[in-house]
């Protein structure tokens, strides 16, 4: 032992190379040691829920900054960094995530994207909400403006997930959760969407309630466009049910004798009261126009286009206003098409034949009253008759063979006269027309089938 003391007085020269060794060790070892410790600390925090965690090592000291979601979580995070082997000191810069009061979360949809905003209680819940939004709105851009905050009400995530589902049913709008109150505004994507949202809100998690539901339904729109060039009538928009749909298309087929009906209608709930009663006469008015558009929005029918002549324009305006059901508003914007050029008698006859070949003038069964579905055809016959102002026209009525001959003869005469009266009332001179009835004496087809009978019941225009 005494020897050791004696020898130790001579050990000092070795400290000089030792110092050099130390300097090298410091030079080479510090950065790897720091990154190794930082990595170990980060690994120790892997399973801890933190926001904005930041770990910096200086030598063996770790500066640890993070936002924790509870005091316990904060303490255990600091403890697990302290427990990392090799760590000398931990500079604890952790704090609790701020508490939001009130706790507000929102989802807002506009034309291009859905923005999730406000506060989420945990990063995992935030991620779940974003995923849910992306799944529900597949294809729509989802923007994340959510921050993290404490103070969410219990079962917040379920309420937010339900809200995200509802955002999918909106065209635009906003759903806000403030503490445990939901408020909704905006417009539903489809008809019936508002009702679907109201039904879904009944499944809100316990403790949540709806403070305000101001979701509006989209307008109930029905449109008909008469295209004279393509000879089509295009129906788009909504109808209340399949029965109304079928009835409407059938009625359009009768009224538009010259046009092909293109049916793009969809069935949907939410129709205004009196929908069918309003659309039917409005379609009749449209059939009398040369070209035109009918737009039925909620309780308003807007008809625009060109009538064939002045009297028709006035009549269409008056009829549309009269035929609308109670509470409905008619907005006719009718102008008059310029009169076509005159033609000679032969062409006139051809035009009559052409028109009557495509459509028939309809009467009420067994009576001489002209069915309103034929107004479009009569307007065209009027227009043609006014193109050859010098000729006299014989208007001939024919019936099928059903019933008594005398009755048929009288009926054919009365029907021919009704057509003459229509044309005269519309403004043509009475002396140009001669009403003649032929009863069932000149059938075009056999009277043994319904089809044949229908062909035989007819009005003919003969230029004399």
């Amino acid at each position: 032992m005494r020897g050791l003391f004696r020898w130790s007085s001579k050990w000092w020269p070795g400290t000089i190379p030792l110092a050099v060794l130390w300097a090298f060790a410091c030079w080479n070892g510090t950065a790897p040691l720091e990154s190794d410790l930082a990595a170990r600390a980060a690994a120790a925090l892997k399973d801890t829920v933190l926001d904005k965690a930041k770990i910096a090592a200086a030598g063996r000291d770790i500066t640890f900054a993070a936002d924790a979601f509870s005091e316990d979580g904060r303490r255990s995070a600091v403890a697990s960094v302290e427990a990392v082997p090799g760590v000398r000191l931990v500079n604890d810069e952790t704090r609790l995530v701020p508490e939001a009061k009130p706790f507000v979360w929102s989802a807002e949809r506009d034309v291009v994207r859905v923005t999730l905003g406000g506060s989420a209680p945990l990063p995992a819940i935030k991620g779940r909400l974003l995923d849910a939004a992306r799944n529900t709105l597949n294809g729509v851009e989802v923007a994340d403006r959510m921050g993290l905050a404490r103070g969410a009400p219990p079962r917040f995530d379920a309420a937010a997930l339900l809200s995200i589902e509802q955002i999918g049913k909106l065209r635009d709008g906003k759903i806000t959760i403030t503490n445990n109150q939901l408020s909704l505004s905006g417009m539903a994507r489809d008809l019936g969407g508002r009702e679907a949202i109201a039904a879904a809100l009944k499944n809100l998690p316990e403790g949540f309630s709806v403070a305000a539901n101001e979701i509006r339904a989209p307008p109930y729109i029905f449109q008909a466009y008469k295209d004279p060039v393509a000879s089509t009538l295009t129906l788009t928009g909504y109808v209340p049910d399949n029965n109304v749909h079928a009835a409407l298309v059938a009625s359009a087929g009768r009224k538009f004798f010259n046009e092909k009906v293109v049916d793009n209608l969809k069935t949907s709930v939410g129709a205004p009261v009196g929908f069918a009663a309003a659309v039917n006469p409005a379609l009749g008015a449209l059939s009398r126009l040369s070209t035109g558009t009918l737009v039925v929005t909620d309780r308003e029918a807007k008809l625009s286009g060109d009538a064939l002549y002045d009297a028709a324009a006035n009549e269409i305006r008056a009829d549309l206003a009269r035929d609308m059901p109670r509470g409905w508003l008619a907005k006719p914007e009718i102008s008059v098409k310029p009169a076509p050029s005159p033609v000679d008698a032969t062409v006139c006859q051809q035009l009559f034949n052409d028109l009557l070949g495509r459509g028939r003038i309809r009467f009420e069964a067994g009576r001489a009253a002209i069915n309103s579905d034929s107004a479009g055809l009569l307007d065209r016959l009027f227009e043609t008759a006014s193109r050859c102002p010098t000729v006299t026209v014989e208007i001939a009525g024919h019936t099928d063979a059903d019933g008594d001959d005398h009755f048929n003869q009288a009926l054919s005469e009365k029907r021919a006269q009704a057509v003459v009266d229509y044309l005269v009332k519309a403004g043509l001179p009475p002396e140009r027309f001669k009403a003649v009835g032929y009863g069932s004496g000149q059938p075009l087809a056999g009277n043994d089938t319904d089809e044949g009978k229908a062909q035989n019941r007819r009005i003919e225009f003969l230029v004399r």
Partner: protein, 98 residues
Amino acid sequence: MAYLATFHWGWLLGALLLGFGMGWIAVVHRGPGISRSTARWLAVLAVVVVAAALARVVPGRPGYWLDLALILLAVYLVGCAAGSWLRDRVIARHGTAL
């Protein structure tokens, strides 16, 4: 400590070998050693520095460098002691053999 030892085992081995060599030489070295008063001052200095390291008063990188220096020095001293003791044994056996 265990972490530093595993992380810096190469440097520590170097210090140990250096100490062993120094200890080996010191037994037969005829030059002057450090005086008793210097040794006392060095001992006081060592106590202060060790106390500073244990109290962790030096922050950040300098703190780490201090720890490393003390560990290297400790290993060096162990090497010196081992070297001197072995050399002494070798000389003693040689002497008796004579």
